[in-house]
């Protein structure tokens, strides 16, 4: 049986599943329940200057029958007394010494405040620090959170202050509310951060009440942009993670992957793209801490099936698979094939291809069931039909190479090969 043991900057945890800095990790009662459920570690909800929260705080996006495909929040950092948080952190560490305890920090924007806060937190026995440079609401107006993460120079300065005082590993959490996460990532790595984590939440408006015209979440007739998270942001997070995992400066430090991780499969994907572990929040907010049970079992079974003994056997395995467009093999071609035995005649492939792709599916009228077949000469292999098909493996893509050898766009141009042939 594979080992799920994780070692992130020397912070050990029985599995790579940490709870992200958020409401599920804001007090002892939650954190103990999380540890009892099996979570490998937590990042305690951000400590810093005193704040006051508003009501309401969350809103979400549903898709079809699925609730909370995306969640946004306008909650601030911890609004509990600092001393109480520190006391509870210490107690949790004592009760679960084998779990990772990282504390998220966002001090006022001066060296002294950071140094004082770090000292107090280190006194609890915490294993690491995570710098919250990502919170996109409330704190930015005071020059904190994303206001730091969005400016590589300020971020660099704060990390330098932190590194002067910190004696335990420091992870810097990046905001996605930038054109690219790489500049800030490079800047903080150069300033000495030991690791990176990403992404924080994405600024968003989840929807508007069509009767009151007030966007969500509602606060006395008004709203503000909230930080978006949950399954909907996973693809964006994976992209940003990849850019950090591929950059020669930022890929020198371990990365903790965050952004819509809900299942063991999601976790594997983050890890394949370079994350050493993952942090979870929305899925726990949706279903409770119990989701970690399947995450552990699923990852274990998958690793056994693949023959991976440790997490390091597969971390980063897919990073090099994401390349530049001009390096793609133009001679690769595949064509959709519809399995007539599996086809349920819903016509979704046909109408998608007809209206939105390359008119490559033939409709033979039948009552009540039409027959759909692929016009192989027309099919560009775009995948759209396969994506809309409701039956698994009914539409498969069959390889029909244009030529056996690898040919990229640059060489294609050099050879003066014909364009517009499809």
């Amino acid at each position: 049986m594979a080992s799920l043991e994780s070692n992130f900057l020397g912070i050990k945890s029985p599995n790579p599943f940490w709870l992200a800095s958020a409401p599920p990790t804001d007090k002892k009662v939650n954190v103990l329940r999380a540890f009892e459920a099996g979570w490998g570690g937590v990042v305690w909800k951000t400590l810093g200057s005193q704040v006051k929260n508003v009501s309401s705080r969350y809103s979400s996006v549903n898709f079809g029958s699925k609730r909370m495909m995306g969640l946004n929040n306008i909650e601030l950092i911890s609004d509990r007394p600092l001393d109480l948080n520190l006391k509870e952190i210490k107690e949790c560490i004592k009760l679960f010494p084998d779990r990772a305890m990282v504390v998220s920090l966002m001090a006022d924007n001066d060296r002294k405040s950071w140094h004082e806060l770090i000292k107090k937190v280190e006194d609890t026995g915490a294993h690491g620090l995570e710098l919250n440079f990502g919170c996109p609401h409330g704190m930015t107006e005071r020059g904190m959170g994303a206001a730091v993460g969005q400016d590589p120079e300020i971020a660099c300065m704060v990390v330098e202050w932190v590194m002067e005082a910190a004696t335990i590993p420091v992870i810097t959490k990046l905001t996605p509310n930038v054109h690219s996460v790489v500049p800030t990532g490079r800047s903080v790595v150069k300033a000495g951060t030991n690791g990176l984590s990403l992404i924080n939440t994405i600024q968003s408006v989840t929807g508007i009440d069509l009767d009151t015209f007030v966007p969500n979440p509602y606060v006395a007739g008004k709203s503000v942009f909230g930080g978006y998270c949950g399954p909907a942001v996973k693809p964006i997070a994976l992209k940003m993670l990849t850019t950090i995992a591929q950059d020669e400066v930022t890929n020198k430090v371990p990365i903790s992957g965050i952004g819509g991780v809900s299942t063991w499969k999601d976790a594997v994907e983050f890890m394949l793209l370079g994350a050493s572990n993952v942090q979870v929040c929305t899925a726990a907010m949706n279903h409770g801490f119990r989701i970690v049970e399947d995450m552990i079992e699923g990852l274990n079974n998958w690793m056994d099936e693949k023959g991976f003994n440790t997490l390091n056997d597969f971390i980063g395995k897919s990073v090099e698979k994401i390349t530049h467009w001009e390096d793609l093999d133009i001679n690769y071609h595949h064509i959709a094939k519809i399995n007539q035995d599996k086809c349920i005649h819903c016509g979704l492939c046909y109408i998608a291809c007809e209206d939105a792709s390359h008119q490559s599916i033939n409709l033979e009228y039948g009552k009540p069931y039409n027959t759909y077949t692929v016009k192989e000469q027309e099919c560009v292999g775009c995948n759209l039909c396969k994506l809309v098909c409701p039956v698994n493996d009914c539409i498969t893509m069959e390889e029909h190479r244009v030529a056996p050898e690898y040919l990229n766009w640059i060489e294609f141009q050099q050879r003066g090969l014909p364009l517009n042939d499809h």
């Binding site: 029958s65 349920i344 005649h345 016509g347 979704l348 046909y350 009540p368 039956v391």
Partner: protein
Amino acid sequence: MIQSNRLTKEQYTVNFSDIHPPFETADAALVEANRCLFCYDAPCTKSCPTGIDVPKFIKQIATENIKGSAHTIFSSNIMGAGCSKVCPVEKLCEGSCVFNLMEEEPIPIAKLQRYSTEKAMEKNWQLFRRNEPTGKKVAVVGAGPAGLSCAHVLSRAGVDVTIYEKEAKGGGLMTYGIAAYKVTPQFCEDEVNYILGIGGIEVRYNQELGKDISLTQLKKDYDAVYLAMGVGIARKLDIPGEKLEGVVDAIQFIYDIRSNGFSSVPVGDKVAVIGMGMTAIDAATQAKRLGASEVTLVYRRTEAEKPCTDVELDIAKLDGCEIIWLAAPLKVKGSNGKVKQLVCSKMKLGEPDASGRRSPVDTGETFAMEVDMVIKAAGQVPYEKLVKKYKLDNKNGKLVLKDKATTNIKGVFAGGDAVNGGKEVVDAVQAGKDGAKAILEFLKLC
């Protein structure tokens, strides 16, 4: 013994409560609406005789555009509310739902259709507006599904319509000929009123063609006439004993249940129902639900040839009705003028007949059933005398059309059961639409 008032009020209420209850909540409807795949050129739509755009109306439920959903349904089928309760969807839309091909439960299309249309009726959303008056007048004979459907399309086009109905209520067999646990008389009345809500349609009740009104006069008074009088008389068995007290016609039996109230309808203790169509099932199940202790359906062919659907047969079975296949009634024996026995011939299957079904052949053997009531549900016959009197082309009384709606008499159109001999409500609604289209073309209004 045949008697009324066999059960308590509570028992009648339970026995005749809605067999297909609606969604309890909007959320329940949403779950099912969201399951719909939104098929293209959808098999469900193609399997609906009125061609309702099913994926569209279901999508509209999912987007909470219920008004739009109801409009989509009623645009194709103005009796979409009633059809959602009485259509044999298992052989139409739901029967062809692609989920069946995945061995999954089909989308509950009828239930979703009921969800939207019931809301529209409840809130009296009038979703259609009449065009400018054209000054044209059309007479419609019969306020059943075909007549109402035709009248509604004509009214939308700006034609003034007068419907002549021989009964005291509209709705036709929907109102008078369908099991009360499928549609209540109140619902039928509400549905007729909702349809008439568009305006421009006057219904004159208790006006029977050939008795109170004549085709000649209608032709004179109106720009066109649409005949949708349906079928009337129950097919006779032509066997000895048919006149005995206790031999009743299924349509009359159902009519009485719907018109007079459950407790006042007499029913036997041991009842034989002859036939295996939808009406036979409705008669048998309701006889049982009125308190008969034994109800037996007698059919001269086998289950493979039965006209009713499996779902309908299951209702009868679940109600505790017995079924005897391959039995043809030979005679009804009586005592003191009352039914005592039904004697049947045992049949076997022979060669396929004109309908393509293997026809029953008498084996010469007989058997007798002790019954005190015989309900005849062997189909209805058209108004043969009437149509012959008016020299309308017909085949055994069923009107013969030149196309989908035109009779041999200029300006006279027809559709529904009077033409097809008796099909589903949804078929009659489509016939009404075809009739209206032909009339509008005849009047040069389209």
